[in-house]
């Protein structure tokens, strides 16, 4: 049985276009669109909103760090405020006392936090669940106390903190300081998000997730769980530490009170709302953490905490798996409709 000549011609003409369209998934289009919007935003809005969006990206990056550890590797952490704080203070001290340029503080903070995270991950290997939570909570509580510690005051500025100057754009670039910082943060964000996505899709990523899902089976299959778990701790701390450094530069001030246990709680809330184990979800988490307290405050200043709690509950009811979970659900529904639609169509 031969195919009629007209249909063959049609098929060959359609083939290249279909091939490209097949590779351009809705996901790619969404990411591309988001990047274009992100590039245009500071030019369309005020300095203040640009500043807020920069903070959103910073929190999103911090939440991504937590996500790598808790979402992808199943190790519960209440201590990420400590890594954020270490990153922030490293940047502040280097800029204030060593006159280091702001962009070099990022790798310094990252590497220091990686080391601290890795070292913390070693004893953490023995702890599970709530016991690990306590250990990380100890870290989070220790951080402000250590920062206020009297003998360290010449370095950390003690309770008074350290103030730093916002970097100016390089000469010749027609942007304001806020806009420049926004683009700088965006660039760092895109690079680090891409690295994280790569990591998760790779063999290492699968090993990390295997450890989360079934540690015994993973070990039985030959995965070096100890190594992967501590490395993940280190990488997670690195991400949150870089976010902390960016945060210090954006806010231009670090003090022990900025890095308390409550920050860890905020990061956790952002993680869940955005969607555990979802990389783009981390940004949604950042948006939530920054803007929803403001919304709660505008409803009732005296009961701002209560309104925030109510909003949290409502969001959890509607999307128990976070924004990413909801997106997945909607995508599944949409693709099932599409499939039905295509099947119904005659070729």
């Amino acid at each position: 049985m031969t195919v009629p000549p007209q249909e063959t011609a049609l098929a060959t003409r359609e083939a290249p276009r279909a091939a490209v369209l097949a590779r351009l998934s809705p996901r790619h289009l969404a990411i591309g669109g988001a990047i274009i919007i992100a590039l245009l935003l500071p030019l369309l809005t005020t300095s203040f909103v640009t500043f807020q969006l920069t903070l959103v990206m910073i929190y999103g990056l911090a939440i991504l760090g937590l996500n790598l550890l808790t979402g992808f590797n199943g190790q519960f952490s209440l201590g990420h405020s400590a890594f954020y704080g270490i990153g922030a203070y490293t940047a502040a001290i280097l800029m204030d006392q060593a006159d280091l340029a702001y962009y070099w503080t990022l790798p310094c903070s990252g590497m220091l936090c990686f080391a601290v995270g890795f070292l913390f991950g070693l004893p953490a290997l023995r702890l599970q669940g709530l016991y690990l939570a306590l250990a990380t909570f100890a870290l989070a509580t220790a951080m402000p106390q250590i920062l206020k510690f009297h003998p360290l005051e010449p370095l950390t500025g003690g309770v008074q903190g350290i103030a730093i100057l916002k970097p100016d754009p390089p000469p010749g670039v027609p942007l304001s300081a806020d806009q420049w910082l926004y683009y700088f943060t965006l660039a760092v964000l895109l690079v680090m998000f891409a690295c994280a996505a790569n990591l998760v899709k790779s063999r290492t990523g699968r090993a990390i997730m295997a450890i989360r899902d079934h540690p015994l089976a993973a070990a039985a299959m030959g995965i070096n769980t100890a190594l992967y778990k501590t490395l993940t701790f280190g990488v997670s701390a690195l991400y949150t530490g870089v976010a902390g450094a960016l945060g210090a530069i954006a806010v231009q001030f670090v003090a022990p009170d900025s890095f308390t246990f409550l920050l860890s709680v905020s990061l956790l809330v952002g993680l869940v709302i955005g969607g555990v184990a979802s990389i783009p979800g981390s940004l949604v988490g950042g948006l939530f953490v920054l803007f929803v307290p403001n919304i709660a405050e505008s409803v009732s200043r005296g009961l701002a905490g209560a309104v925030y709690g109510v909003i949290l509950l409502l969001v959890i009811y509607v999307m128990p798996s976070g924004a990413a979970g909801l997106a997945r659900l909607l995508a599944a529904k949409f693709s099932s409709i599409r499939t039905l639609h295509i099947e119904g169509k005659s070729v």
């Binding site: 100890a138 509950l313 009811y317």
Partner: protein, 292 residues
């Protein structure tokens, strides 16, 4: 030597606070398998309810009993209304729900009752115990009541059918359903009991620390540390852990030179984590052995 004895006793007295809270924490952990962040706020809110009743002229014991009963009912209601819909949600989402509950209770208490400290009466009086200046009668009473609650709960869980049913529902909900236990209501019961224990703890603690909306955050965290130290699967261990945390913190603050004053919380927590390294399920906890 006298200083050591005094700090030890003071540590036990403060530890009694943590122990009472740790008991409530472990209670709910045994029922629902995770930590309720809002535990402290629930205890605080219950204590405020009791305080309000006393302000309205009720005698202490009426207010006490009423607060415990209301807390029990409140705990059951919170579970049935707020947490039932997210039963099957991932653990982290439920954790966020606890955080939300914390915010609601803390903020509401601040709006209703203000942030100035209030005195809360104690049925034990505040005289020095046996005339010695080591510990007051109230603090001794607190230790006594905590141990009594521990004893009652132990009897309940080991000796009664309902207690057995609750343990079954927590350990293996599916199997429990198959034998006819109403798991949902067991959970609600667990919440109610934990809220009631929390209310008693709050009403014991308030005379010492003074009643105000933020009184429980530190206590909850120390209580949590004590519960983990003692072992989350063992109520007795949790109580022991609570006392231990109180003593460790006091002794660290007093005797470790130079560093102790400013870093005593850190030191206490580091010590606890060190203990956990050696015994990852807590000192008295049972290691969970799971079949592969």
């Amino acid at each position: 030597m006298e200083l050591l004895l005094q700090q030890l006793m003071a540590g036990l007295a403060t530890g009694a606070i943590y122990a009472a809270m740790a008991l409530a924490v472990v209670m709910i952990y045994q029922a629902i398998d995770h930590l309720n962040f809002a535990q402290g706020e629930m205890a605080m809110f219950s204590t405020f309810l009791a305080w309000q009743m006393i302000q309205w002229g009720q005698p202490y014991w009426v207010a006490f009993v009423a607060a415990v009963v209301l807390s029990f009912l409140g705990g059951v209601a919170i579970e049935r209304v707020l947490f039932k819909p997210i039963h099957n949600a991932p653990i982290l989402s439920q954790l966020v729900a606890f955080i939300a509950l914390y915010g609601i209770l803390n903020s509401s208490a601040g709006e209703i009752w203000d942030f100035t400290i209030k005195t809360f009466p104690t049925p034990f009086g505040s005289a020095p115990l046996f005339g010695q200046n080591l510990i007051s009668t109230h603090q001794a009473g607190m230790i006594g009541v905590t141990l009594a609650m521990l004893g009652l709960l132990y009897l309940f869980f080991r000796g009664s059918r309902l207690g057995l049913a609750m343990r079954a529902a927590a350990a293996n909900p599916d199997s429990a359903r198959l034998v006819g236990i109403r798991v949902g209501w067991m959970l609600a019961l667990g919440w109610g009991m934990s809220a009631a224990v929390g209310a008693v703890a709050g009403m014991l603690i308030a005379p010492v620390v003074f009643l105000e909306p933020n009184m429980m955050l530190g206590v909850l965290l120390y209580g949590f540390a004590g519960a983990v130290l003692g072992g989350l699967s063992s109520p007795g261990g949790a109580v022991a852990g609570g006392f231990a945390v109180g003593v460790i913190e006091n002794l660290a603050g007093t005797f470790i030179p130079y560093v102790g004053r400013e870093l005593k919380l850190t030191i206490a927590l580091v010590l606890i984590v060190a203990v956990l390294m050696v015994r990852p399920s807590g000192v008295f906890g049972r290691a969970v052995v799971s079949r592969v």
